[in-house]
Amino acid sequence: MKFAVLRFPGSNCDQDCVLALNALPGASADFVWHKDTSLAGFDAVIVPGGFSYGDYLRCGAIAQFSPIMQSVKNFAAAGGTVLGICNGFQILCESGLLPGALVRNKGLHFVCKHQHLRVESTNSRFTNSATKGQVLNIPIAHGEGCYFADDATLAKLNANDQILVRYCDATGAVTDAANPNGSRENIAGICNETRNVFGLMPHPERACDPALGSTDGLVILQSLLTAEPAKAS
């Protein structure tokens, strides 16, 4: 399975993504520059973390107009797998590929730590290797990770089972105290209605090696490898 890892000016988790994916049997990953327009030959797209365009205007606001993003929109519309991590999640929301938006953390501070997440749904190509309710320990590192959506959108996300992971404590309890950034309903990651686009603030690629303290990120990457991919044309 071949992954395209996008690179914008200011992306800084692209190398980590490529490294983590290339270490997995059955996966290979290549960088794709934001000025490129072709995703031909790729089975999935990763929009990595970082500070694309210096977070100018709003996080992800400028990146949504990069040439490659039009191809990503077409790829997603055709059912292709798209995973946005951290700044990648922000870009997918700004692009309209995912509902809602990410705003300044409630506590105003940049938060960088390991964080527990509860898998809320295994009905997706991103979480099918997990068990429902499984608690994952995956790092977060963001200043604008507070997920916001209006009440109608939240109701829809819940009704369609689109909330894939929520912030929780070590026991799996979803509490205010375990919410690192003030996200509504402790939302850490959501997918689109057709379940082929997933964005999350935590960094699974930073939890793929025992030397980094956790290998729970592999649950998400392995899920992608067992899913049926749609080839880009």
Partner: protein, 76 residues
């Protein structure tokens, strides 16, 4: 002409910066301060003939995010 586009968080969106500033204002001794919201002011230099609809398009599609922000336009 110069056009000022003001962008403010929607009332329904949590604005921790505004809340922190309101707290600081109280701390400085000004009582009765209500809600404080912090946004941004963007100044554009545009040809005089720029249609109003074009300015709104730029304000809506790029300068603000309608999910979380409202904007207003003032020609200077």
């Amino acid at each position: 002409m110069k056009v000022h586009v003001s962008v403010l968080p929607k009332p329904s969106v949590l604005d921790p910066q505004g809340a922190a500033a309101a707290e600081a204002i109280r701390h400085l001794g000004l009582q009765g301060v209500g809600r404080v919201r912090i946004g941004k002011l963007i100044e554009l230099e545009l040809p005089d003939a720029t249609p109003e609809a074009e300015i709104h398009r730029i304000a809506r599609d790029l300068l603000s995010n309608p999910v979380i922000e409202d904007y207003s336009i003032a020609k200077q």
